[in-house]
């Protein structure tokens, strides 16, 4: 194994890797760091630290936090339950239109969230939604303005992240281990439960954490499709947005809470992000 690492590209001492850093790069790289760091610094400096505890224990903040946790966790769970079979199919089978399916599934990742909201209305709205109008006319079920709508919006935007992480996990899997288990008489379900899923532990965790984090931050699709009501659809980002109009201090304090949660996500995925 020691000889392996010596030949790996990471330690090769090519002039491009180890040579003098171009001055222009230093300037642009510093600008890049500043671009990200300055707003964070601004948030830290503007946060009314003496009031933080009072604000974060207020009813608005607590209600929004509770709802955010419920919505993000449900969205991450749905993303995994639907995302794992989809990743499995995408990695381990070939069928016509596979690339198209993949493109469609990943699209929400790069789609403006407000467009996602409009799309969700077109699918699940009670008036003109493809499914929504049918649900409403036949069963009197209206999704818009409900917590279910907030979950749907959060799932829509976080699903691609789960699928991508699970796909990567399945691709990196040594299929011989699954074959060996099958040869020894294990059923497919047993192989999945006792070999495939345990081997993919880290990637499954990554899929859950990434989709949870994306769901937690969802704003545009939620406010467009689910609306904004305390305790029902007002998640933390929506609370920040509303408070920004009336109580700026509160907006900064809640923003800080969201930053800390995001920071915890990075820490949890440090193996993935901080190598």
């Amino acid at each position: 194994m020691a000889t392996d690492s010596r030949h790996s590209p990471g330690s090769a001492s090519s002039p491009l890797r180890k040579g003098r850093i171009p001055a222009g790069f230093v300037v642009l790289a510093t600008l890049g760091v500043a671009l990200v760091a300055l707003p964070l610094l601004g948030l830290v400096l503007r946060t009314p630290w003496s009031r933080v505890l009072e604000i974060l224990t207020s009813e608005t903040a607590r209600t929004a936090l509770r709802l955010s946790l419920i919505v993000a966790t449900t969205a991450a769970a749905i993303s995994f339950v639907l995302g794992f079979p989809l990743a499995w199919v995408l990695v381990r089978s070939t069928f016509p239109g596979k690339t198209l399916v993949r493109a469609v599934v990943i699209l929400p990742l790069v789609m403006p969230p407000v467009v996602a909201g409009v799309g969700l209305l077109a699918a699940f709205g009670r008036r003109s939604g493809l499914i929504g109008s049918w649900l409403y006319d036949w069963f009197g079920i209206q999704l818009t303005f409900t917590t279910a709508a907030a979950v749907l919006a959060a799932t829509f935007v976080s699903f691609p992240l789960a699928v991508l992480a699970l796909e990567a996990g399945l691709r990196g899997l040594d299929e011989r281990l699954e074959d060996a288990a099958a040869t020894l008489g294990a059923s497919r379900w047993y192989v999945l439960r006792r070999v495939t899923l345990p081997l993919m532990g880290p990637q499954i965790a990554a899929a859950l954490v990434l989709s949870w984090a994306r769901a937690l931050g969802e704003f545009g699709a939620t406010i467009t499709f689910a609306g904004n009501l305390q305790g029902r659809t007002q998640t933390l980002p929506l609370a920040v947005f509303e408070q920004l109009q009336t109580d700026t201090d509160a907006a900064f304090a809640v923003s800080m809470l969201l930053i800390l949660l995001a920071f915890a996500v990075i820490l949890a995925l440090r193996g993935r992000f901080l190598r």
């Binding site: 222009g24 642009l28 818009t144 303005f145 609306g227 109009q245 009336t246």
Partner: protein, 269 residues
């Protein structure tokens, strides 16, 4: 070096484009003067209540035509949000609010204002989808079980006025229990009603513009419980174009009155 410069310039341009198109607070629209051969180039930024979107759009065009070389850029949004932006130092030469409260805020807690004057009044109304799915006919109908009612958030003038009307009518508790969403501004309320997802919303009489008249229906609110919104306008202190800003204010108070009346606004008190 040249390449680095190009890279840096395009990065800056990209950033500028992003901040233009996504300021997080309402919509921004620019209209360019077509003439521009005469006077000096000047740009005026007007932060205006979102209920003024259509009327001020037209007034802006007319003002540009009357002042060649001038470009008026509008920042439409909820008055409370706009006042917050201005108080935080966002550039604005003119502020037009849908309620005196938020003009007071800029005057007292922000950079201050000059030449403040009331320029219009507006009435609130119930707004329902054209097919009126919940069969709303008056304020009392808003209290019926299961009505999906959408208001502007508290703090937004249209939201505060709506809550005041419910109080005047003595239906606060039952009506507020039917609220399914508190929207960012009054235009967002109209959007939710237009899409047919909400059964009713409270907006301004002027929100039912010809563009949306076939999709929403306006139900008047009786005068004895209705609220009359008063709209103040002023030059924001610190404006780089104070003179031009004042002429815009004068224009709104003068020639602009006819345009405002055309869009259903009432004359100032």
């Amino acid at each position: 070096m040249k390449r680095v410069l190009i890279l840096a310039t395009s990065a800056v341009l990209l950033l500028a484009a992003c901040s233009d198109s996504n300021d997080g607070e309402g919509t921004t629209g620019t209209t360019e003067a077509s003439g521009g051969s005469g006077g000096a180039e000047a740009e005026l930024t007007v932060s205006a209540a979102s209920s003024l979107t259509e009327a001020f759009g037209e007034i802006g065009d007319a003002f540009e035509a009357a002042n060649p070389g001038t470009t008026v850029t509008f920042n439409f949004g909820p008055s409370d949000g706009l006042a917050g932006q201005i108080n935080e130092g966002a550039p604005a030469d003119v502020f037009a609010s849908a309620s005196p409260t938020w003009m007071d805020s800029v005057q007292d807690d922000g950079p201050g204002v000059t030449g403040r004057a009331d320029f219009a009044q507006n009435r609130l109304a119930i707004i329902v989808p054209a097919d009126n799915p919940a069969g709303i006919e008056d304020l009392d109908d808003l209290t019926e079980d299961g009505v999906q009612l959408v208001l502007a958030a508290e703090g937004v003038p249209a939201g505060d006025y709506a809550r005041e009307i419910f109080k005047n009518a003595g239906i606060s508790r039952a009506a507020l229990a039917n609220v399914v969403s508190n929207e960012e501004d009054v235009k967002a309320v109209i959007t939710k009603v237009m899409s047919g997802e909400a059964d009713a919303g409270i907006g301004y009489v002027t929100d039912v513009t010809p563009d949306v008249a076939d999709q929403v229906t306006l139900i008047p609110i009786p005068d004895e419980v209705n609220v009359i919104a008063t709209y103040p306008i002023a030059v924001v202190n610190g404006s780089q174009e104070a003179d031009l800003a004042q002429s815009f204010v004068d224009y709104v108070l003068g020639d602009g009155q006819q345009t405002l009346a055309g869009f259903g606004f009432l004359p100032p008190p």
